[in-house]
């Protein structure tokens, strides 16, 4: 294990930025989101939850896929993907829940047939995770078996009042460590162990620590789908996309064309199953009510996705929706209502 003094973090960022594009939580316009680091930027590693999750780096809110050019009757397709030969990048300060969320996304985008747009960005990234030390009441990653005190990733780091502690886990992580080695000194194991213990004690007190998910099983799919509680749970839903867009695992997208002076750009962008036009076709819509759309989102996270992926839930308990839903609806309320007998 290595460490670096907190005051020297800027040197670390600057060193990483020499060879990598460095994405790190930065405060801009009053809110903390992942942005590319640069001298003078206001880094905020302590921020527990960036508004947008790190998924934005691999699966950008909007991404050009290809261009079409027309000459007479002839059509030409130009691949405009992100150039792999550009600088590889480092995602710095990813929390345990958000790291788990990337695994959830991997299972969608890297499943056959591989989404090469996602893949190229994913492969070019070294992920440096940061252990949590000050969780808040909306956190419930432990309900999904995630250990916020020791996240995985290419490199795991811990931050306390004095130092950042650094431990490489993978080859990519070793390579990054080698690149910044001159700034690191050895040691810090005891401090990290102490922090882990104290954070774990806090984690036990999280109000949602023991959510009962036992009823969310593929065999209960139809029973859960038909549950009358969906009506009242979704009643206040505005049908906005806040929960979807702040969610680190939501991966639905739309593909759209945009006409430019030169031709047509085909891009994909985030879409939300909460939107009324999500499933709208020329001759009908399979989900006409907000209740159906609300149900779709939570059934997907808690039943459909696990059924397709060996029981892995596509919720990681980051609590962003708990904080951000305009009308205070969220997945916790759904789990408590439908999850099983042990929820109150």
């Amino acid at each position: 294990m290595f460490k670096i003094a907190k005051e020297r973090l800027n040197e670390l960022y600057s060193k990483i930025a020499e060879t990598f594009g460095l994405f790190i939580p930065i405060k801009k316009g009053g809110e903390v989101n992942y942005h590319v680091w640069g001298e003078g930027k206001e880094v905020s590693l302590e921020t527990l939850k960036t508004v947008k999750s790190p998924k934005n780096a691999f699966f950008p809110q909007s991404e050009n896929l290809m261009k079409f050019k027309t000459e007479g009757k002839n059509l030409e397709i130009i691949d405009v993907r992100w150039d792999k030969t550009e600088k590889p990048f480092v995602m710095f300060g990813v929390k345990a829940c958000d790291y788990k969320a990337i695994e959830v996304l991997d299972k969608v985008f890297l499943a056959d047939p591989v989404d090469t747009y996602y893949q190229s960005r994913r492969e070019a990234t070294t992920i440096v995770t940061l252990a949590c030390s000050r969780p808040e009441e909306s956190c419930f990653c432990n309900a999904f078996g995630i250990d916020a005190t020791a996240p995985q990733g290419d490199v795991t780091t811990w931050l306390d009042g004095e130092n950042l502690y650094w431990q490489a886990n993978t080859q990519k992580g070793e390579a990054l460590t080698a690149a910044v080695k001159e700034l690191l000194t050895e040691g810090g194991e005891e401090k990290v162990e102490a922090q882990k213990a104290s954070t774990k004690a806090i984690m036990e007190k999280l109000p949602f620590a023991s959510l009962d998910l036992s009823r969310f099983k593929p065999e209960n799919l139809n029973e859960l789908f038909e549950d009358p509680a969906w009506e009242s749970m979704s009643e206040a839903c505005l049908g906005c996309g806040t929960c979807t867009f702040v969610c680190p695992t939501c991966q639905c997208f739309d593909i759209r064309d945009f006409k430019t002076n030169e031709g047509v750009i085909r891009y994909r962008c985030w879409d939300s199953c909460m939107y009324s036009d999500f499933t709208l076709m020329a001759h009908g819509n399979s989900r006409t009510t907000q209740m159906q759309r609300f149900r779709q989102r939570f059934m997907h996270k808690l039943v459909y996705y696990p059924s397709q992926n060996d029981g892995l839930y596509s919720c990681v308990g980051c609590g962003r929706c708990v904080n951000k839903c305009p009308q205070k609806l969220n997945i916790v309320k759904v789990i408590k209502t439908l999850g099983g007998k042990n929820n109150d």
Binding site: L48, Q61, R134
Partner: protein, 326 residues
């Protein structure tokens, strides 16, 4: 506030029991003290979860678009600011007035949990409202904050504590208007240079994730199909692909609600990126006041709005600079 909640619950229970109304729209207990959610109650048993406290900031009037069309009468609890939206919706024939029983309720200003957390209480376990002081218990320490410092943005500039519509009222204590002038922030922006203003809005709007929360919560945004969802409009768009789209969305939205926006402040309350969207709408309100005479949308449920009327001597667009005739 506790006494108000009890009285409201009691009245809701009476109304439901007597069959005078089929449902009551209010707030339901959340997971914490600070996250009550809007809900409708159709039986006395359901009222067990009824709650009214300092975190019931949501404007409930828009739910009436759906609810007032249901079988039977709907009772709704409206705060003074929500009553403006209610009138505006009646004016635009979006809700059926005869099917609604309006209960005007007391409001002493609503609280913003994010502001409380920012004071160092980021693992809130309990909140207690004691008049102007809010006692907060958190895992990382207990303490008290001044109410004025943790009010929702929209309550800081509260435009008044008078209900514009009511069928009955539950007001047990005197209410006070906001302490700040609501145009102060607009004026601050007006005083900036063009470049500074552009930079300010660029930085703010760049955060926009196009979640549509501002649009969907807005009582003035009651179109059956929004232009931004309609591919035939030519401006339909979903995510931000270019800075232009954020500007386009917010300019068109602000313009579309101009003259109809009651300044309820819900857009800024719900924005996940905390973009001060109310400053867009307030600019229109301020300009309308200055150019065409003071106008407050939602004061009445009748009459024309500034943009659906005119006078022959109106100012020429080219002469209007910063909302004033030069």
């Amino acid at each position: 506030m506790r006494d108000v909640e009890l009285k409201m619950k009691e009245r809701a229970s009476e109304l439901l029991k007597s069959g005078e109304v089929a449902r009551v729209i209010g707030w339901k207990k959340g997971e914490f003290y600070h996250d009550p959610q809007p809900a409708s109650f159709e039986s006395v048993e359901e009222l067990n979860a009824f709650v009214y406290n300092g975190f019931c900031g949501a404007n409930l009037s828009k739910y009436l678009i759906q609810m007032s069309k249901k079988e039977g009468k709907t009772a709704i609890f409206l705060k003074p600011c929500d009553s403006y939206s209610f009138n505006q919706l009646v004016k635009e024939h979006r809700i059926v007035r005869e099917n609604i029983h309006v209960i005007a309720i007391e409001c002493q200003g609503k609280l913003d949990i994010e502001k409380i957390k920012a004071k160092g209480f980021d693992f809130v376990t309990e909140v207690e409202e004691n008049g102007d002081e809010i006692a907060v218990a958190s895992l990382y320490g207990n303490g008290a904050v001044q109410k004025d410092e943790v009010l929702l943005g929209k309550c800081e500039t509260c435009k008044g504590k008078v209900h514009q519509v009511k069928d009955e009222e539950i007001i047990l204590h005197e209410m006070q208007a906001g302490k700040k002038n609501r145009f102060e922030e607009v004026e601050k922006l007006e005083a900036m240079t063009e470049d500074e203003r552009f930079a300010f809005w660029r930085e703010q709007l760049q955060k926009c994730i196009r979640c549509n929360a501002c649009r969907n919560v807005c009582p003035a945004c009651s179109c059956l199909k929004c232009v931004f969802d309609n591919p035939a409009s030519g401006i339909a768009a979903k995510a931000n692909d270019d800075k232009f789209e954020e500007q386009l969305f917010h300019i068109i939205r602000a313009f579309h609600v101009s003259g109809r926006c009651t300044d309820c402040g819900e857009c800024s309350r719900v924005c996940p990126q905390n973009i001060p969207l109310h400053l867009l709408n307030r600019k229109f309100i301020k300009d309308i006041d200055g150019l065409y005479g003071e106008y407050q949308a939602g004061e009445t449920a009748e009459g024309k709005t500034p943009l659906t009327s005119y006078t022959e001597g109106d100012a020429e667009p080219n002469d209007v600079v910063n909302g004033e005739v030069r």
